[in-house]
Amino acid sequence: MDFLNAIVALLNFVIIPASAYGAQLALGALGVTLIYGILRFSNFAHGDTMAFGTAITILVTWGLQSLGVSISPLPTALLALPFGIAATAALVLGTDRAVYRFYRKKKSDPIILVMASVGVMFIMNGITRFVIGVRDIQFDDGVRFVINAREFRTATGLAEGLALRSTQVITLVTAVLVVWALFWFLGRTRTGKSMRAFSDNEDLALLSGINPERVVAVTWIIAAALATIAGTLFGLDKSFKAFNYFQLLLPIFAAAIVGGLGNPLGAIAGGFVISFSEVAVTFDFRKVVAYLVPGDWTPDGPIQLLSTEYKFAVSFAILIIVLLFRPTGIFRGKSS
């Protein structure tokens, strides 16, 4: 019986990684849910918007590095982030002008916009690969650890090490700041309130003199910022590979739908529900159990519900359960 070691192992392998991943998913899902709430379609290109934003951020990071600019101990990518956001905002605004606005003016069904976004997804996909390539890119140049596993062990005398990577801390801190800023914007500013009004009741918003094109433009800019930040944090935490961002689309949509599409609070909750489920279901609890039960009770094989290759099945399963039993999501979104 070694309670402390069990907790440390759980923190190290489940709680900390899942929190960082959850924050990344939450930021991604916020973008999806905002677009859904205001433009009224599911934007399948969001994963590739994240990839594009991250790619530009990486390019600017490299540029800054070659100029000798550094904000050590923080990664240079944070400094490059505003450039990535600006480029991504320009790209999505251009896309809106070239693609989505046409269907909006025609008052097309949402499903047509969804299909258009699939086309946009493939194009963005290609642009990202043209710009930066398909390989795996590590671009985190900051200090790696806030808490080092070996130092933790020597300092506490525990058998189990605890590692807290700086990217995980940066992810959580950034996510908290971004979410705070977003809610402040939506709840306190004139433009933010007009976006909520537009999402609530489009016709009445028009009757109140709210300019729909302005609301749409601001929404795209915010979605681009959220996508770039989420993508860059994910890339710093793990690595950048265009294909991985495309695959993020599933957990992100699952998060947005679990929380209730169109509901920002739901997107955040959904992000953490998905990340904790994914990590917990694919984690081998043998080590944790070994600390808690008498020695010979520990099973020989892994105590793992699914192997890590099946992590996408977790998002899918949650998505299906929610759609079957509570289609509007935990926080009652707009989908019904």
Binding site: A197, D200, L204, A205, S208
Partner: protein, 234 residues
């Protein structure tokens, strides 16, 4: 010339016309009520006045200015406010935010107008931080009218403001509408509760199949035996 003059309006949503040379007039600070059987084109006439319907004939003049070609949004800027029959509030936003959105185009004097709305509908002040979607039907109608008043309209158009509210709330709403008219705002209203509506109306329009059947003061229409027999149930 009347404050609002919508003359000889002809048009509909598709190929077939719903309105046939329909004429509506509202004087400054007066209440005009449109009544008539189901499908008479009452709401359609209102929408035509507000520019939500393309007219094939006729014109709409506000304060002597021809606004026939203006979009609904442009008409809001000209001083018209419209309260739709349903989904007329922002459900997830607080009462206060609903009112703020009504004043979206205004930069000054918003607080004073909001005070006036709260004075007119005191219950809204108590509920100002509550989401409009959580309010009762009658309170929601008050929010809807309040939101419209926040645009500082000269003409307030109400599409069945008392639909689905209890008789007590209905009387209360009618009282408030009279108060609004006393401040100099003209009111054009479609109503199912014809008898009560005509009793507060300066002018009444009985529409049948998209055209004017009877037009007179509210009092005269209530006294008219033909109108009573055919539309007011005796």
């Amino acid at each position: 010339m009347s404050f609002l003059e919508a003359a000889n309006m002809t048009g509909g949503y598709g190929a077939a016309d719903i309105l046939h040379s329909c004429t509506l007039r509202v004087e400054k600070g007066q209440i005009a009520v449109i009544v008539g059987p189901n499908g008479a084109g009452k709401s359609t006439a209102m929408k035509a006045v507000f520019g939500m319907l393309k007219l094939r004939g006729g014109h709409v003049m506000l304060e002597g200015e021809d606004i026939t070609q203006l979009s609904p949004q442009a008409r809001v800027a000209k001083g018209m406010a419209f309260v739709p029959q349903t989904s007329n509030v922002f459900p997830s936003m607080s009462v206060e935010e609903n009112l703020e959105m009504g004043a979206f185009l205004r930069r000054e004097g918003v607080a004073e107008t909001m005070e006036q709305v709260y004075a007119l509908f005191p219950i809204l002040r108590d509920k100002r931080l509550q989401a409009a979607g959580e309010l009762s039907g009658g309170q929601r109608q008050q929010v809807a009218v309040g939101r419209a008043l926040m645009t500082e309209p000269k003409l307030l158009m109400l599409d069945e403001p008392t639909a689905g509210v209890s008789p007590i709330v209905m009387d209360e709403l009618f009282d408030r509408i009279i108060e609004v008219a006393r401040t100099g705002i003209s009111i054009l209203m479609v109503e199912q509760n014809a008898r009560q509506a005509l009793s507060i109306a300066d002018m009444g329009y009985v529409l049948v199949q998209g055209s004017n059947r009877y037009t007179d003061t509210g009092e005269a229409l209530l006294a008219d035996p033909d109108v009573r027999r055919t539309f007011l149930g005796g």
